[in-house]
């Protein structure tokens, strides 16, 4: 009967019929070609990106230059005791802080990560997993090196070490961070290891807080405030080429570097032990975004962390609202903030930062450092704003327009910012500066939280990471531009009127403009 059909019986699946499995290199080359083809604009056509980058560079240059000038002015009256004390304390704060931050950030993105699409389309194929993940791994390692070197150079140079110490500190810090990054990749393999690593991160945070607290409460001796030095000028130029101590440190650095390189190579071998689920961090939130590009978008990263937290919590005790319309929304925001008290505790704990910096005597640094710490403290309270900016469907359901909603949802974080800055006023020096800091941290955080999620359906820009939506490159500094703008009068030493007027104007303009919708 079935003679017409040459194939009788069930179809047999034979892998041999399908030819060789492609190497990940071939696959990547092909993906890159396809992605390049999608891009229809060059990076330089992106006005928004260029504006933000130039603006940030100009502000950073002006601020940084001003800070260095100020510090140099004071270098004359350094008492060795106070300089030495500082140099002994700073590493005790900086290194645990860096390691702890590194652990947290890296574990929250994976650290080895792939987009959901890659996870679905590529990692499910028999193509060698380790080599598919290697670019992401390399990016993590390079990131650790850059952060370590930058933080060490800035940290030690500012606090008065001489150049050879700065160099050695940079090498050692970099090595420590590189090892930390390797540990996170190792911890990524199982959930239990990740939890232990997170616990270690918390422990290190406490460890860093102790010397910071000591610094904050240390009585400021008369004259000590003006007694700090950039160090470079006080190092006698006529020292022997290499002192014994320097030789020792160089040897230690070389050995540490060797260890780190060995560890990096060794860890790279274990990449194929990573599960697909652990690599595709954040699940549905990352649906569209290209693997490495996610690290550029701080807001998305924060969404991923929060999303994961609440999925684990799963169930809460529902609380009734109060009032209607705006009042109800504000009341709900208040309840929401209390729902994750850990964030509030960390937020208030960050108050130690301006006091610690004031304790070192670097008064010029206090406003900018306080602004940054305040930004970090207030940003997690913006989850509500973040949710509505991510979904126009939600805005429609709430029946309000986004501008109105943004004002309402900033009330509770705004109150927190005001309280925070008020509590930091003794360190900041004057209420006007505290006002500038409060407005700067609030407007910066609001601007960052209201970023639209990247959309791949619009125009795309060619980049080394493939075609990405325009604006993605400016997202890491988004928000910090407003913070700097608000603090500019303080940093540039303008009069009290400007110190209040500019932040007030920034605040009014920010809340008056209509945010772009997703």
């Amino acid at each position: 009967m079935s003679t017409a059909d040459p194939v009788d019986g069930p179809v047999v699946f034979d892998p041999a019929d399908f030819g060789a499995i492609p190497t990940s290199k071939e696959l990547r080359r092909w993906m890159r070609k396809v992605r390049r083809g999608k891009a229809d604009r060059s990076v330089w056509q992106q006005f928004e990106d260029i504006y933000v980058v130039i603006f940030a560079l100009a502000m950073l240059g002006a601020t940084g230059g001003n800070v260095v000038l100020n510090l140099n002015d004071r270098s004359a009256g350094c008492t060795t005791a106070s300089c030495g004390w500082l140099l002994d304390t700073v590493p005790l704060i900086l290194v645990p802080l860096l390691v702890s931050g590194m652990l947290r950030v890296l574990l929250s993105i994976g650290p080895v990560s792939a987009s959901r699409a890659t996870g679905f389309w590529l990692l499910a194929t028999p193509v060698d997993r380790a080599s598919l993940l290697r670019p992401s791994y390399r990016l993590v390692m390079v990131g650790a090196v850059v952060v370590g070197a930058l933080a060490a150079v800035v940290g030690w140079a500012l606090f008065g070490a001489n150049w050879s110490t700065v160099g050695e500190a940079a090498v050692l810090t970099t090595v420590v961070l590189l090892c930390t990054a390797c540990v996170t990749v190792w911890a990524q393999q199982t959930g239990a290891r990740s939890r232990w690593a997170l616990r270690a991160a918390d422990g290190l945070l406490v460890l860093a807080a102790v010397p910071a607290l000591l610094l904050a409460v240390r009585p400021r001796e008369e004259g000590a405030a003006a007694s700090v030095v950039l160090g470079l000028s006080t190092v006698p130029a006529s020292e022997p080429f290499l002192s014994a101590a320097e030789v020792r440190l160089l040897v230690i650095s070389a050995v540490a570097l060797l260890v780190a390189v060995a560890l990096v190579v060794f860890t790279a071998r274990s990449l194929d032990k990573l599960s697909r689920q652990s690599v595709v961090a954040g699940g549905e939130l990352l649906a569209g975004i290209a693997g490495a590009a996610i690290t550029l978008d701080v807001s998305l990263l924060a969404d991923v962390v929060a999303g994961r937290h609440w999925r684990q919590v799963g169930r809460v005790k529902s609380r009734r609202g109060r009032g209607s319309r705006g009042v109800a929304m504000i009341h709900r925001e208040f309840l929401r903030v209390l729902r994750w008290p850990r964030r509030l505790v960390i937020g208030f704990a960050l108050l130690v930062v301006p006091y610690a910096v004031a304790g070192t005597g670097y008064d010029v640094l206090v406003p900018i450092v306080a602004g940054l710490a305040g930004f970090i403290a207030v940003r997690p309270l913006m989850d509500g704003l973040r949710s509505v900016c991510r979904s126009i469907g939600l805005v429609r359901a709430l029946g309000m327009d986004l501008r109105e909603l943004r004002v309402i949802m900033s009330v509770v974080p705004g109150a927190f910012a005001a309280l925070w800055a008020a509590l930091a006023t003794p360190a900041l020096g004057s209420p006007a500066v505290a006002f500038a800091v409060a407005v700067g941290m609030l407007t910066g955080a609001v601007r960052q939280a209201s970023a639209r999620p990247p959309s791949y359906s619009g125009p795309l820009v060619a980049s080394p990471m493939g075609a990405i939506p325009p604006g993605l490159f400016s997202t890491p500094i988004r928000g910090f531009d407003l913070l700097l703008l608000c603090l500019a009068p303080v940093l540039l030493g303008l009069s009290g009127t400007w110190v209040v007027a500019i932040p007030a104007a920034v605040c009014l303009i920010l809340f008056a403009v209509n945010p772009k919708q997703a």
Partner: protein, 213 residues
């Protein structure tokens, strides 16, 4: 002859994606208490029509009138009268199902929504899951919560995109009954659907769309 303006009037609607027309010269009117179903294969442009109506897509030509006035989501009355459920709804990750409904009712000016919220949770079968966060709901339960968000607020026009998505059979039956009740209370309904029983039970008219070449 002159009656009051229809609840919704769409005249000569045209929409382009990257120069390619997806909707060409679409015209229909929807009266108070009536329901119109948009039907057609995937890619026919049903979602696009609904997006133009709720204001998240810009028509290339044509007019959309709500009670005789051009529809514009920037106008408060429009936001108050049009309740919609499209695929772009996301939830607050840290608010429970009950808290979402409580917040939405209050945002629309209902200062005492407790009873309404409880009834609605019962209606959509989420009473047991009232305290759960959206991330821990099953996809069908999330869909039910989404439907509830459109029903917890005042509305004159309901815009729904494939409301039967992910619902079980009992859920679709409930939805059909509920939408018929909505019509009786004067609400107009415009919905896209692939479910013939839902369309037959609810729609007074159907508008058939076909994918343009």
């Amino acid at each position: 002859m002159s009656k009051a303006a229809p609840r919704l009037a769409v005249k000569g609607l045209r929409h382009l994606y990257a120069e390619r027309p997806v909707i060409e010269d679409l015209t229909f009117t929807l009266r108070a208490g009536q329901a119109i179903a948009l039907v057609g294969p995937n890619g026919a442009g049903k979602t696009t029509v609904l997006k133009c109506i709720v204001g998240s897509a810009e028509p290339a030509a044509g007019q959309i009138l709500l009670d005789g006035l051009p529809i514009d989501e920037r106008v408060e009355v429009v936001r108050r009268d049009v309740a919609s459920l499209l695929d772009d709804l996301d939830f607050f990750p840290d608010l429970s199902a009950a808290e979402h409904l409580d917040l939405l009712a209050r945002a629309h000016g209902n200062a005492e929504p407790e009873d309404l919220v409880d009834t609605l949770l019962d209606d959509v079968g989420l009473l047991a899951a009232a305290d759960q966060l959206p991330g821990s709901l099953s996809s069908g339960q999330r869909r039910r919560l989404a439907l509830a968000t459109a029903l917890v607020r005042p509305r004159k026009l309901l815009v729904l995109d494939e409301p039967e998505q992910r619902l079980d059979t009992a859920g679709v039956t409930w939805l059909a009954e509920r939408l018929v009740e909505e019509k009786k209370s004067g609400t107009s309904i415009l919905f896209a659907s692939h479910d013939t029983t839902l369309v037959d039970a609810v729609a007074d008219h159907t508008v058939a769309l076909t994918p343009l070449p």
